[in-house]
Symmetry: C2
Subunit: 434 residues, 2 copies
């Protein structure tokens, strides 16, 4: 092969003319092609991390019976009217109600039922007195039958220690909205209402290709001039965190026809196709060619952002193709800003974009740029303030600081940098733990 191969074209061909659009416009252009996927039912034990496909309404009030909030005695509160240490009242204990059991005896004035926390209060009772506030007295009646009484020395108000039906939820209340992510609290609600088959949205199947013959697989020994294919592993993780199912496909070498056929095959099988690498403005770039065919509609091929300005999105066969940068920092950011919202929309999620809030910049950021920068950073709460610290190394090509970042700090176009203490917009990154 000639050392000058490819140079005959005389500089950069037409395909590299790119019009940079704003991040918000780029995001908006994607969403119409991210269609809600089907509903499927999974067992409650497997619902963690999924997205609800339907609104869930309460099939019964909760609590569904009048529940004792204390270990004690169910009573008719009027029986304690006017009683005191000087004038205690005695009630005969005629029943005992453990959790899960029903009352056996109808209470009448002058009687009480021993009751456990969480047990059903007899219909006739209207209060529960704490065990510790009573004194047991044993007597024998005229027929020498042992009888148990409790002595009460204070008035008990109606409703005391008694959780009414529907305190938490009434029949038909909306309990979980569709689009909600299913975590611990949601599981608890679903179990409480016996929803053991949970309607969830099918996870988008996301194919990941890396491109570029410089890539070694992670198992290969290092070679001079080559790097390992770390982005696909990183993307697989990001896809799972976003609620998708990643499928790592073989790396595409720098060959346009091969790339075309591999990508076409992927569209038949997956919901989204993501590539990483091969989008930089080099003579050997093939992704630019890939999105210029007649059957492909390009949405954008340059975005007013750093890193990741050459991020590309296109539509083929009604499905989204994202061509992310091969630089790890740019690939990471490109996924979170563009692929995540597409996945979330396909899941019907109520939160398409990374959560956004404002924070104080903990350390000056001095780089200037005509594009908005999405700078990796670390979130810190000190004394009630939200402070963010930009990573020391935030170049597009830098991988090492991704692991220490929990936010992206949004630095608008600036010719002066941003001072410490200024307020900045912050996007919260997903983390599988706190």
């Amino acid at each position: 092969m000639s050392n000058l191969a490819g140079s005959e074209a005389g500089g950069k061909p037409e395909k590299f003319r790119r019009q940079a659009i704003e991040v918000s416009a780029a995001q908006a252009s994607i969403l119409p092609y991210a269609h809600l996927l089907d509903c499927e039912r999974v067992l409650l034990a497997e619902a963690q991390g999924r997205t609800l496909a339907e609104n869930i309404t309460a099939p019964h009030p909760y609590p569904h019976f009048r529940r004792s909030g204390m270990d004690g005695f169910a009573i008719i509160s009027a029986d304690t009217k006017g009683c005191s240490s000087e004038q205690p009242v005695e009630l005969e204990v005629v029943d005992e109600i453990p959790c899960g059991s029903l009352p056996n005896v109808k209470l009448v004035s002058g009687t009480a039922a021993r009751i456990m926390t969480g047990a059903k209060v007899p219909d006739e009772a209207d209060a529960v007195i704490m065990f510790e506030m009573t004194k047991e007295i044993h007597k024998q009646d005229a027929n020498h039958q042992k009888k148990k009484y409790i002595e009460i020395r204070r008035e008990i108000e109606v409703g005391k220690n008694l959780t009414p039906v529907g305190l938490e939820l009434a029949l038909g209340d909306l309990i979980l909205e569709k689009g909600r992510h299913i975590g611990t609290g949601e599981i608890s609600v679903l179990a409480t209402f016996g929803i053991h088959q949970v309607p969830v949205v099918r996870r988008p199947r996301v194919a990941v290709f890396s491109t570029g013959s410089e890539l070694l697989s992670v198992e290969e020994p290092l070679q001079d001039g080559k790097i390992r294919n770390s982005n696909t592993y990183m993307l697989a993780n990001q896809i799972r965190e976003a609620g998708g199912e990643p499928y790592i496909l073989h790396a595409i070498e720098d060959n346009l026809e091969l790339a075309r056929s591999k990508v076409a095959a992927a569209f038949a099988q997956y919901d989204i196709v993501v590539t990483t690498g091969g989008v930089s403005v080099g003579d050997f770039d093939i992704m630019a060619d890939l999105v210029t065919g007649n059957d492909v509609q390009m949405l954008f091929n340059k975005v007013q952002m750093r890193p990741g300005s050459v991020t590309t999105a296109a539509v083929k066969d009604g499905k989204l193709l994202f061509a992310l940068s091969g630089n790890p920092g740019a690939c990471f950011v490109g996924f979170e800003l563009f692929v995540r919202p597409a996945i979330q929309k396909m899941l019907g999620s109520s939160q398409l974009f990374l959560p956004e809030f404002s924070a104080s910049l903990g350390k000056a950021y001095s780089k200037v740029n005509s594009f908005t920068r999405f700078v990796r950073g670390r979130l810190d709460y000190s004394d009630g303030r939200v402070v963010v610290y930009p990573a020391q190394l935030d170049e597009s090509s830098v991988m090492i600081t991704i692991k220490d970042s929990d936010v992206l700090i949004v630095i608008p176009p600036t010719t002066t940098g941003v001072h410490a203490g200024e307020m900045v917009k912050v996007l919260k990154l997903p983390r599988s733990t706190a």
Copy 2:
């Protein structure tokens, strides 16, 4: 069965005398029994969410070759000394270096190599000039051979657009500490260094029992006076989030001997045993009996906290047993304060407890208590301030607000409540998403 069954004992027996200890003392009493588990190796693609068992040091510098940061030409910077628009310099293009390839030609003064972003810079070059800052010129030499030159019109400094070896990491640098949770950034690092078999700590196997005959399985139709067994599903979720493997065992009915034998069998098979329910101070409580055997060492059976004051921890056969409240709110909090740290310690995690910070209380909390309260709440960032809002319903028995909470607000013992705007300590709950 007599309506008065169990009442012959005449009030509450000895076993219910409980000494409440402080939360921190309770936590400290558990940790000596939470032993680090074995290391196992998993494939990189399966390492997400695991905890690193060993320190990882860089097996090579990163980058491991001098990398071009631009699409352009590798040059010897001294060749541009003194050049300008008036006095441009011409360099002959003698090589072309795509990503992943090695230089073919040794550069000498007066020559340059076309180079792509990410490719290896020839050893003789000390800078890269951007493609856009050059002009190509084609000439024929004396033998009518076509030759390509670039014209340069400004001085280029040494090191320009050239990432030196080891910029991110030097050989032997500590890159990931043991005990670290493996997320997206960590995966990226591991892949970059070719660590395709990742040393992780085995997940603790955590058995979950529910107790109490009031419990219906989630599949059963509702019955009067009974509730569904939602806590075990909630706990399974919490266990997974904490890094453990949950094993849901059958509910234990209110029978001491049956409970004893079931729990003993669980200790042989699992690393931790958790029960929920049966710890309230009722006549039918069996958990109290369960932790009073000769072979069981009780660590605590009452904690100065609300909810969950009757949380119990014990050690049997060197393994931890946690008896959590059957009330969903108390069960939830008891897990996060006591079981989570045990799991994290067994994983060798660097973060045993829920992350803690201070925040401003967004709404007055008026309940008084002699014990510290752990109140479910919602975190809000507004204008750079961290504000927390207590849930409307935070009773021990209330389940519905767990799903809307991302923090526990720590309300110290108070006789007056806490006013809006006061600073409070906050514990961040794990959430599988942001």
